[in-house]
């Protein structure tokens, strides 16, 4: 995401003055030119180029190092929160080996379980057990791809969609209601439930879109507010008769009919379901939309420079509304998977978990590119799946995963920091700035 957001004019402000514009232009120049120009050199060999890039601040290196830094801080948290290990630091000067070995033991066990839960467990025997970690990872990945794409698409259009959480919430409500209330044949039922989820998300995306386009209301504020409206709506609708599971006093809805559930891919013992295929399809669609379609071109033009886009005859109103509706559809589909997939089959107050907020992190980690989002979601899904095992085997709270995810994105968002810590070379084609640098 290159940074080229001008100061857009405002009707109820003083007209943008020359110094303000000059300042904004200066800011843009400073942020886009992270890589200093190099003098002309003779063309280096391919191997040389590879080695040069290996320790340069390019996307892959920064991402890997961010992951390492995050895990390092995570390790410190594990150590300081373990009273037994911490006790060994009390006599650090007397027997330093104790502190080191006990710290290493607790940290390595935790991260080993993280890996075994997410990728592969060498001790597992049998087909199902060997595939189980991957299956879990993909199960958690699928909805994150959708919410990540939702946020990323809006980003490219110059909008910050914090409302993926709310859109997913409304999506999950409609998908679940369609899933248990409509008596339909198997395939049709699933399609209708997915459609219902998409419509729900679209409505919740349309509202901030139209408010932004018509009244200039900032989408960040409106989407935050709509997230909570959606949460309360969910907690209200669950306990209504006709929705609440009969005979239950707590907040849980009727389960979705089997005919509306996404089919499992690898047999009944593994949770991975067709949602991951839909996620890949959605990624392909968003990539096509952004890079090959007229709408995508207009969307990127508006995102890069609304004033120029308007001069070129692009309707900003239409683009903003469409972007938010499509983003809402994606988030709504992501939410639908939370009841149509295998994680749950009924509505509960926490049914959507954090997928909307995680989607923001996924979009940033994926550098707001569709296929990047897919990879980022895969990493987050793996952390989630591994975190479950880490919690049950090593007794390390699942919250550590949230910490790791947040830290990774913090480091990604500030590549200058990572660059400084590891003394990285400046990359030539580095696209480092994740800053949108636009205020309320």
């Amino acid at each position: 995401m290159t940074n080229s957001h001008p100061v857009s004019g405002s009707p109820d402000k003083e007209p943008a003055t020359e110094p303000a514009l000059a300042e904004a232009a200066g800011a843009d120049r400073a942020t886009t030119m992270t890589a200093p120009r190099r003098p002309e050199e003779p063309r280096p060999s391919l191997g040389r180029l590879f080695l040069d890039n290996l320790w340069a601040a390019n996307t892959v290196t920064v991402t890997v190092l961010s992951l390492l830094l995050a895990m390092l801080i995570g390790a410190i948290l594990i150590i300081v929160s373990d009273p037994e290990v911490l006790a060994t630091y009390g006599y650090l000067t007397a027997r330093p080996a104790d502190a080191v070995t006990s710290s290493w033991a607790v940290v390595s066990e935790a991260y080993a379980n993280l890996f075994k839960g997410a990728v592969f467990d060498p001790e597992a025997s049998g087909f199902t057990a060997a595939l189980s970690p991957i299956s879990e990872t993909l199960t958690y990945t699928a909805p994150l791809v959708f919410t990540g794409l939702s946020v990323a698409l809006a980003f490219r259009g110059g909008l910050f969609n914090i409302g993926a959480q709310g859109q997913a919430t409304i999506g999950v409500i409609l998908a679940a209601v369609a899933g248990f209330a409509l008596p339909l044949p198997p395939v049709v039922h699933l399609l209708v439930a997915l459609l219902a989820g998409a419509v729900g998300g679209a409505v919740w995306g349309f509202v901030p879109g139209i408010l932004k386009a018509r009244a200039g209301a900032h989408e960040v504020i409106n989407t935050i507010m709509l997230n909570y409206v959606a949460v309360y709506f969910l907690s209200w609708i669950i306990v209504q008769s006709g929705v609440q599971s009969p005979g239950r006093a707590d907040a849980i809805s009727k389960p979705v009919d089997p005919s509306a559930q996404l089919p499992r891919l690898l047999g009944d013992n593994l949770r991975v379901h067709a949602g991951i295929l839909l996620a890949v399809l959605a990624t392909w669609f968003v990539a096509w939309l952004l890079n090959r379609s007229t709408l995508g071109f207009e969307l990127r033009a508006v995102g890069a420079n609304p004033d120029a886009a308007r001069t070129a005859g692009i309707s900003i109103t239409k683009t903003y509304v469409l972007v938010m509706v499509i983003a809402g559809v994606l988030a709504g589909l992501g939410g639908s998977q939370m009841v149509l997939g295998t994680t749950a089959t009924a509505l509960t107050p926490l049914v959507v978990a954090q997928i909307g907020f995680d989607g923001i992190l996924v979009a940033l980690l994926g550098r707001v590119k569709p296929w990047g989002v897919l990879l980022a979601a895969l990493l987050f899904g793996a952390l989630q799946a591994g975190g479950n095992r880490m919690q049950s085997y090593s007794g390390i709270s699942l919250e550590l995963v949230t910490v790791l995810q947040a830290l990774i994105v913090i480091f990604i968002a500030a590549p200058a920091l990572v660059k400084a810590i590891f003394q990285l070379r400046a990359a030539r084609a580095a696209r480092l700035q994740t800053s949108l640098a636009k205020g309320w």
């Binding site: 402000k13 303000a20 935050i224 507010m225 709509l226």
Partner: protein, 426 residues
């Protein structure tokens, strides 16, 4: 909030022709009055609605027949709406609007209280006022943190995280040391820690401030949740049993009927919160620091030209905001509850809403926080008397009100001009 509006799609200034903004609001008020008179009047019962000036059913009370009250107050709302529609002098606008909204609420209450089951059709006003302030308290601290940050041009979406970190470190260090004051200082430091991260990444590394705020909220949820499970759940005795500030009665003032018991028998945080509103209001509009803060928030280049150190001022304000929010978080763990995972539960975002609804001013934020607190308290009360109004819809009220405000339906809100824009010297 139309600062980032695109010119061709933004609303034209509405003060044209007959339908000025005041007249539109008048029309809405008229509709509300009609609703109150007809619907609330019809649904209210002929029972007495008692508003007692105490915490219980007994004692002095204001009484009115339910139907009569609902219709009477509804008619006043109707008249206020009519007056606005007909056109009143500008200086009367706020007063008439206030009266109209107040009577609408009263009409609603007459209906609800009179329709409550026998024996419960009374409303203890002391409880309601006190509950409003208690529920508004974290919002007040959070919104003040927002004021400090955003007036100097740094968007603070991390209020939630600052409150949470404050609540956590207050509980943790308060428990370990056994002293409320150590807990209070630790809470301030905890909030300031999240703020420091926000400041460094937003100001030094130019990371988008909204992005950073969201990520910091998640980080705070993760870190506090992780340490809560590792430390506090395994050894609550040692790590999660913070001492609490007791209530301090202010002599004389606490004897005022209604307001005395509700407001002047509170704990440190209540007094501190109200005092901070006053202090920040005066500081922001009457001191050199305030002038500089506002100028940096509106036009940093100009401020820099005049010799204000923009970045240093922003660092200082953001960290002060963290201190304020951290103390706000401690108003939970050092006065009311023990720490639980994610205990702030979205209050930080309501505080953000209060900040915006209160138009980035300390007093506006106070009023907005009290309004949101009242909505919260009302939901609790209506739940207790078995009302048919779902509490979830009342809980939505702050968020919906903010959306309406931001969309320009309740009045124009405008953020500081440089809010959210990193400043690069040169």
């Amino acid at each position: 909030m139309s600062t980032t509006a695109v010119p061709d799609v933004a609303v034209a200034p509405v003060d044209q022709g007959f339908w000025t903004r005041h007249r539109k609001i008048g029309a809405v008020l008229l509709a509300l009055g009609l609703l109150a008179t007809v619907l609330f009047g019809a649904l209210a019962t002929g029972q007495q609605a008692r508003f007692t000036l105490s915490e219980t059913e007994g004692g002095a009370a204001l009484e009115i027949n339910g139907t009569v009250g609902a219709i009477l107050f509804g008619v006043v709302t109707l008249l206020a709406g009519g007056a606005l529609l007909a056109g009143v002098p500008k200086r009367w606008f706020t007063l008439v609007l206030g009266v109209g909204l107040l009577t609408f609420v009263l009409s609603f209450l007459c209906w609800q209280v009179s329709a409550a089951p026998e024996g419960r059709n009374f409303m203890p006003l002391v409880n309601v006022v006190r509950g409003t302030f208690i529920l508004a308290l974290p919002l007040i601290f959070g919104a003040l943190a927002g004021v400090l940050c955003e007036r100097s041009g740094v968007v603070n979406v991390a209020i939630e995280g600052q409150l949470l970190m404050g609540a956590f470190s207050g509980a943790l260090f308060g428990s370990i040391s056994g002293s409320v004051w150590v807990g209070l200082v630790a809470a301030a430091v905890g909030g300031a820690f999240i703020s420091l991260l926000l400041a460094v990444f937003a100001i030094r590394y130019l990371v988008d401030q909204v992005v950073m705020g969201i990520v910091l909220n998640l980080l705070a949820v993760g870190v506090t949740g992780f340490l809560y499970e590792r430390l506090m759940q395994t050894n609550a005795e040692r790590y999660n049993s913070a001492p609490r500030f007791s209530n301090w009665e202010i002599p004389l003032l606490s004897d005022i009927p209604l307001l005395g018991p509700a407001l002047f028998r509170g704990n440190l945080f209540l007094y501190l919160g109200l005092l901070l509103v006053l202090v920040i209001h005066i500081a922001l509009f009457r001191t050199r620091w305030g002038l500089r803060t506002r100028s940096v928030g509106e036009h940093p280049t100009a401020a820099d030209t005049l010799g204000v150190n923009v970045l240093r001022l922003r660092y200082r304000n953001v960290i002060m905001a963290g201190v304020v929010a951290g103390i706000g978080g401690a108003s939970y763990t050092l006065a009311l509850y023990t720490f639980t995972k994610n205990m702030i539960g979205g209050k930080g975002f309501i505080a953000l809403a209060a900040l915006i609804f209160g138009r980035w001013s300390p007093t506006g934020a106070l009023l907005a926080a009290l309004f949101f607190g009242f909505a919260d308290q009302l939901a609790t009360y209506l739940g207790a008397i078995g009302s048919a109004i779902p509490s979830q819809f009342l809980a939505m009220l702050p968020y919906l009100a903010t959306i309406l405000a931001v969309a320009g339906l309740v009045g124009r809100v405008r953020a500081p001009a440089a809010d959210g824009k990193p400043y690069i010297k040169g």
